[in-house]
Every structure is written in structure tokens, then in C-alpha cells.
Symmetry: C2
Subunit: 399 residues, 2 copies
């Protein structure tokens, strides 16, 4: 039975934390000097363990096991959101190192830009062969506006090859990650076996009215795009609960009224609305409800609303055999310490799942805090989940 | 009977239009070279007519009639919004010149910054003696950020006296202005006798929630400030029509959700909400309704909402004798061409009303367009309203 060096696992996490340190968290946006330093740090750790490290044309770091036979792939991403947490992403990568250090036949991967500084999942989309050169040409940094091409050149990655993963080489992909929610904490549990990663259907609702003076224009004369937006969102709030599943979420992230001044009737409203579920059928049903509510709004209101699909992702189901191994390992380490749960957030696994079976293990997030420098998980929970992951990897290899 | 030279009236408007010309409109923000040029142009016109022109410490231009006896005051403002219309404000000032040129005992005034580049009604507030030096110290340009003190120094006005108007000198103030709405146009009318200027009660509603990840946080766990905002605004939309008066308006100009990102549950919502009416009792009733709806929201919702008063102005009623003179004059010029109506927008008259009786005459606005360079009124309507104003001034002086 392979021995996981949990002390070294924690020590590696603490060492990596120093690169781009910000308060108790880290600031390592994709392709910044701090991000590239962390990738070089990772390649050194891989080499120490005896893996063969390489970095591809979008910054993905892959450490290949040199031995023969079928392998596991383990990892996550290593860059962070701005001024964000020390574990998000890094946890899964360093956990992969711990598996390889224990002598298991494991390749370790750190995918680039899962956090979306340049659009999101640049690395895992490239590793699965679905990222086109045109998409790279079109991408730019959401904060600085720098193009992805410029960033890749600046990081010394321009022109490097970016081969997809050899699916036949792997039996499956394990990704450990923080929960980014409070479900484990609230349930008093220490580990989450992920059943799948929900799909996100992101929409833009645009409502056109007439911009007018709020004093000179009577209520009857108005075409107030903001008022139509409020009525439509109230209708969604009324109707959606009749159609959602147990773990469906729906969110209005932005309501932009133009021009947005106190004495001007809004001439235009733009709403960012999304819903998430693990079932494609459920997502399709919710789209039907949304389209019906917009149709009804357009029948009733003076300001026409139109629906634009921003992005419609696919849910990624976790592999049942791998989930069973995680569950058995969790029971072996501490009976009753875990639960099965979907992931409401997106992860690299959702793309890697197109090539091989995947499974995810969630650690609790203290207070559910995520994408903030104060994000944290208890050390004993990190150690326990590392033991679970080790046991699961061994079990799955033995299947 | 005094003869109004309407041809010269239109010619003066066209000449003034050339100062700061922008497309078919003008760009004369307060205290810019263009604004100051227009004030000097006005002082020259006043001197031609035999009035005694002066400019005070905030840029108000007053042309005093040199004869004995009670006077009328007539005018408006001469600066404009950015890239705005040629008539708004300038119309009332040039109409005042036309009255004086006709030999009527009229002082002409151009109040500074009615348009609010430095807070609004700087001139009329100073002329009524309610503008304090501390308010001048605190004011700055809403576009450039330049302080009012710097602007006054730059315009050569620093240190000049700014005496209030001598109320005892005047029988009343006539202000001609464009309607800035479509009520006259829609009714096929050519003049509006203003009954009063509505008060604006401007509010900020702040709702505090929890910023969270839209995937990791279940619907039950959420404290979504944006959702509470939508429900509150929907309740206002339901309840307000049960309490409003015939000409009440209520407007939500902005709904700002923080941070305003597609996958983040809004942690804070800020709403700019206002209502307008000519009756203080009605305004007070609407405030009671609004407070009740917020109280109810706080009982029901997880995210507390609080109400902040931004500004609560007073309605200004027009003088009945002056309104009667306008109505009689309108009937004499063209029977049935006019209607009585409140002004939904604010005007210098609302402050000058604190010192003397006031009345306003509205000309139609083509398409209701205002605060935009394409704002316009038919020449024949301008001429007709000038005739009405002349007849009304004569009638009121004779009362």
C-alpha cells in the first residue's frame, strides 16, 4: 500500500503559497511573472520526483511518469483569480505531486487559465484538442485587455507545440479541489465525492425602450426599459421555482440601465442571467420557461425584450467506478466523513472528461469563501482528503 | 399696446445660437469661454435696448430698466447642457429682451448654471439669497471635477458681489421655456400655461446581501441583494398606482448590483428612485407608501434595505393672476391654442418664486426632445408664444 507523505504535501502547498503571496492568499493571474514562476517551480518538483516535465504552447505543465503501463492523470490549475486564495487549483496540482511521490503511476498536470483571465479553461480546452488558433487569436485579458497572443509571447510560449493528451495513456483523471461553498461545512462533513459538474447556461436579456426626461414624460407616454426588466425578473422569480431541480441555481448577476441617471427614464436595459444544473433535460426545460416568460413580457410590455445565449456548456458526469473508489477510501479513512454532491462551479475536469473518466474530491471551504485572499481549508481536512485521494487512486488502479 | 418685434426676437435667438454652435444645437457649459461669451453678448444687447447690464459673482447677468415705477422681471438661463439644444434657457432670456425692447418696464435676467454643471440653480439660488459661501466652496463640476471656485476665478468672477434681487422692485417674474415633453404636441396645442413646478423627491435605496459564487451557493443559502431589489421594485410598481395623483411620475433611474459579474451573487444593490408631484401632501403620501414597502421587504427578505433621502425639493406654484393674464393673452392671439399644465422639470422660477409671484409659458418641443443638440421648436410656435408673453406682460402690469 502506497504511503502518502501528507507532511510534504502540506509543505509543498505552503512553499507554492509564497509565489505571488498576497496577505494570506496569492495573486498569480495567468501568464504573469508570478504564474510562470509557479509553473517553473512545479516542473522542478516534478523532476525531483522522477517525472518528465514539459510546458506546452499555452502554459500547460505536464509531468509524465517514466514507467510502463496504464497511468492515472491528476492535477488541476495553478494560476489564481486576482488577490485570491492559496488552495483553489494549486491544491489539486500539489495533490497530484503527492500521488506520484508515493510511487503511484501518475502523470501530473497544471492546466492554464482555468480562472478565465483570457476566456477560461484555455489549458484544458487545448489539452482536449478543442481550442482553435482562431480562438487564441480572438482572446484577450478581461482586466488589462492585453491579447492572449501578446501574453503568450511575453511568457516565452509563442510557437511552442500544444499537443492534446494521449487519452489511451490514462485510466482516468482525479482532481482534488476546494468546495467553494458551505454545504460540507454546514453538514459537518470533511470530504465531498463529486457526482458531476453542472452546466452553466449564460444569457443576456436586452430590453429596448425610449430614453426620456423623468419630469417631462408622463407615465402613460413612457417606454421604460428598466421597468420592463424589473417585471420580467419578478416573473422569473415567481415561475422558476415551479420548474427547477433539487440543485438548480439561477442568478441575475447584472442589471445595467442606460444611461443610469436619477432623472432619466432608462432607454435600454441589459440583464446578465444564468442557470446551472447537472441535467441537460432540466436546462432545456428552464430555457423553455425563460423563452415563454420573455414572449409573455413582449405581449404585455411596450419595451421589447430579446434573449441572447452567451454560452451554453455541457454537464460533465463523474465516473461511477472512480466515485466508488473515492467513497470506499473515504469510509476507510474516516467512516461517515463524506457525502456525494454535484459541483456548482466549473472545473478543468469538465473538459478532460471528454477524453477519459474523471472524478473530483472536494475539501470543505471555511465559511464557503472563494476567489478571495481569505479563502482557506483546515490543515487536518487537507490531510484527510489527501489520504482519501491516495486510497482512491490505488483502488482505481487495482480495478 | 406694446409692439413685440418677433422678427428681431427670432434673429436674436439665431445670433445667440452661433456662440458654441454644435451641429443644430449648442455647447455652452457653465463658465466655459462660450458661456461667458454668451453672457457678454447678452449685456451688449441689454445696453442697446437701454437697460443697465451687470454681471454678479456667480455669473448672473441682470439688465435693469432705468425708468421709475414697478417692474417685471423676465428671463431664464443662458448656459446649456453638454451638446444640447439652442432654445432651452436661451429662449426665456431672449424673450425677456423682446419685452424690454417693446418698451415695457422689464428687467431681464440670465441665471447661472440652472443646468447643474456645478450643482444646479447656482444663479437663481444666489439671487434669492439662499446660496451660502460654504455651498460654493463645496461645489465642483460633475463632468470635469473642477471646483466652482476655480471656475469662477477662471471666468474672472472671483470676488465680485452677488446681491439678492430686490423683491420690492418687481411685480412678478415671467419665464418662457420649452416644454421638454410631448404633451402639447400630442394635444395639437401651441402653448402651455404652467400651473406650477413639481417637486422632486430623490431617494437612494441600499440593499445589503452576501457576495457569493453563483455555482457553489445553493438558492437556500443565498442572500441575493439583487433579487431583493427586484422584488421591492416590483412591489413599488404594483402599489404606487393606487396612491399617485393625475400627473405624478416615479422613476427608477439606476439599479447597480455589486460586483455585477455573471457568476457572482450580488452582495449589494443600490437603487436611484424618485417621484415628482406638484402637491406636497401627495409627495408625503408617496413617501409613506415607499417606507411601508421597504418595511415589508425587510420583514420578508434576507437582505435588509434602507432608504436614504438624496434631495427633497418643494413644489413652486405659479401666480393665479399671472396665469390668468397668460391665458387671456393666449385666447386673444389664437383661441384654443393653449392648455394649463404642470412643469415636470425644474426651472429657475422655482427659486425666484420665493421672492415674487412667478409664471411660466411653455412652447411645444418637437418630438419632446430635450438636453440633446436636436432639440427644436417650430419658428411659428416661438413667434406665437412671444406674442402671448407680450400680451400677458402688458395685462399683468395693468392689473
Amino acid at each position: 500500500m502506497a504511503q502518502i507523505d501528507t507532511a510534504r504535501f502540506i509543505a509543498d502547498l505552503q512553499e507554492l503559497r509564497k509565489i505571488g503571496e498576497f496577505k494570506t492568499g496569492v495573486h498569480r493571474p495567468t501568464y504573469t511573472p508570478q504564474d510562470m514562476e509557479s509553473r517553473r517551480w512545479l516542473m522542478d518538483r516534478m523532476a525531483e520526483i522522477g517525472l518528465e516535465p514539459s510546458m506546452d504552447g499555452v502554459g500547460n505543465v505536464l509531468g509524465k511518469h517514466k514507467g510502463p503501463g496504464i497511468k492515472l492523470l491528476a492535477g488541476s490549475h495553478i494560476e489564481t483569480q486576482n488577490e485570491a486564495g492559496w488552495l483553489d487549483g494549486a491544491l489539486g496540482v500539489v495533490a497530484g505531486l503527492a500521488l506520484a511521490r508515493a510511487g503511484l503511476p501518475v502523470d501530473v498536470v497544471a492546466c492554464a487559465d482555468e480562472e478565465g483571465h483570457y476566456g477560461g479553461f484555455v489549458g484544458s480546452r487545448s489539452l482536449t484538442g478543442i481550442l482553435t488558433e482562431e480562438q487564441i487569436d480572438a482572446a484577450s485579458n478581461r482586466t488589462t485587455g492585453q491579447t492572449l497572443r501578446e501574453a503568450l509571447a511575453g511568457a516565452g510560449l509563442a510557437g511552442l507545440p500544444r499537443p492534446p493528451l494521449e487519452a489511451s495513456r490514462y485510466k482516468g483523471f482525479f482532481e482534488m479541489h476546494i468546495e467553494q461553498g458551505t454545504q460540507l461545512e454546514n453538514a459537518g462533513l470533511r470530504a465531498g465525492v463529486v457526482s458531476g459538474i453542472v452546466a452553466i447556461w449564460q444569457w443576456k436579456i436586452v430590453i429596448e425602450g425610449n430614453q426620456d426626461h423623468a419630469g417631462g414624460t408622463t407615465m402613460a407616454e413612457r417606454r421604460d426599459a428598466g421597468l420592463t426588466a424589473v417585471r420580467l425578473l419578478a416573473a422569473i422569480d415567481q415561475e422558476f421555482p415551479r420548474h427547477v431541480g433539487e440543485r438548480t441555481t439561477w442568478t441575475t448577476g447584472r442589471i445595467a440601465l442606460e444611461p443610469g441617471a436619477p432623472s432619466i427614464i432608462p432607454g435600454r436595459a441589459e440583464i446578465l442571467f444564468q442557470f446551472r444544473d447537472i441535467s441537460t433535460e432540466k436546462l432545456a426545460e428552464l430555457e423553455t420557461v425563460l423563452r415563454r416568460l420573455i414572449q409573455e413580457s413582449n405581449r404585455r410590455e411596450k419595451c421589447p425584450a430579446r434573449l441572447e445565449a452567451v454560452s451554453l456548456s455541457k454537464p460533465a458526469m463523474c465516473d461511477h467506478a472512480m466515485m466508488a473508489c473515492l467513497a470506499e477510501a473515504a469510509e476507510a479513512v474516516q467512516p461517515g466523513c463524506w457525502q456525494k454532491m454535484p459541483s456548482g462551479a466549473g472545473h478543468d475536469s469538465q473538459y478532460i472528461a471528454r477524453l477519459m473518466p474523471v472524478a473530483m474530491l472536494f475539501t470543505p471551504s471555511i465559511g464557503g469563501i472563494s476567489h478571495h485572499w481569505s479563502e482557506d481549508t483546515k490543515i487536518e481536512d487537507l490531510e484527510l482528503c489527501m489520504q482519501i485521494l491516495g486510497g482512491a487512486a490505488e483502488r482505481f488502479l487495482a480495478v
